[in-house]
């Protein structure tokens, strides 16, 4: 399974979003390739919506399973303030929280229970592992 991520966000959060996305995307794709998810054909297309109050209403969540294309579009709303003023660790947690919402839908891509468990485990371990892998990123 391939993890791919873009974003619908408001400009002040750009730096936080981009830094987090780059870290998570690289980490998850490496971990998926080393796990049972390597044999799952499909794409998790993650496009979180990170907008402040007053704009969130105009950009509703729009997650959707595209079974024929073997794609799950995961597009939840995340906490904007965290990406503007939160720590890198908090940004990672919030970003991963959004990714985790797709776990129940992987079955629609043909994932086995083992693969779904692997997915959950990888996400649960992701934040501390990324922080260790990227010591140059300050936690706070």
């Amino acid at each position: 399974m391939i993890f791919w991520a873009a974003v619908e966000g408001y400009q002040p959060a750009y730096e936080g979003i981009t830094r987090t996305r780059k870290s998570v995307e690289a980490h998850l794709n490496a971990e998926f390739a080393r796990s049972s998810l390597a044999t799952l054909e499909g794409k998790l297309r993650y496009v979180p919506i990170i907008m402040p109050k007053g704009m969130r209403e105009r950009y509703p969540e729009r997650s959707k399973l595209r079974k024929k294309q073997r794609i799950y579009d995961c597009a939840p709303q995340l906490n904007y303030e965290i990406f503007v003023s939160g720590s890198f660790e908090d940004q990672l947690k919030e970003y991963i929280r959004g990714v985790a919402l797709s776990a129940p839908h992987l079955k629609g891509l043909g994932a086995t229970p083992e693969q779904i468990e692997d997915f959950k485990r990888i996400l649960a371990e992701a934040v501390p592992r990324i922080l260790v892998e990227q010591p140059d990123q300050t936690r706070h």
Binding site: A6, V7, E8, Y59
Partner: protein, 162 residues
Amino acid sequence: MYNDEVHLRQATCAGAAGAAAAVCMGTGAASVSCPATGAACALVPPAAAACGTAAATAIAVCSVASGGSSARGRVHGNSADSMMGTEVYYLINRLTGAIDKIGITSYSERRYSQAYFDAQNVDYYPQAHHEWRTMAIIDEQIRLFNYYVEYGQLPRLNKTFR
């Protein structure tokens, strides 16, 4: 509106657009001719300002000239007269961080699909919200002209000025 008045407004629009094009082509040419090092590529501020001002003026004049209201007083969402709220947005390249498109939309709920983001490798970032669509058009045009003046071309996914 009488035909004479329509023709007068259209002529005014054409004049303003022509003036803007003349001013801006000058700055564009200056930008294109800059050396590759970029060291001496700083634009002359008055030229850039004149370009942006001329463009904004032309857009505003033409918006009024084209009119937005129908005979029944209803305004379409894409009309320059629309007051339904319009956002100026950028599509930003995921890898390079470059601006790949400057655009406006009044229909954020019917926005680009995730498949489009995937195909074009971009993120979506709203920049400003205007209640009056005309102001959003002017804002968009100024940003496009500034981009053109700085880089000598439009963003990758912008085919033309409005």
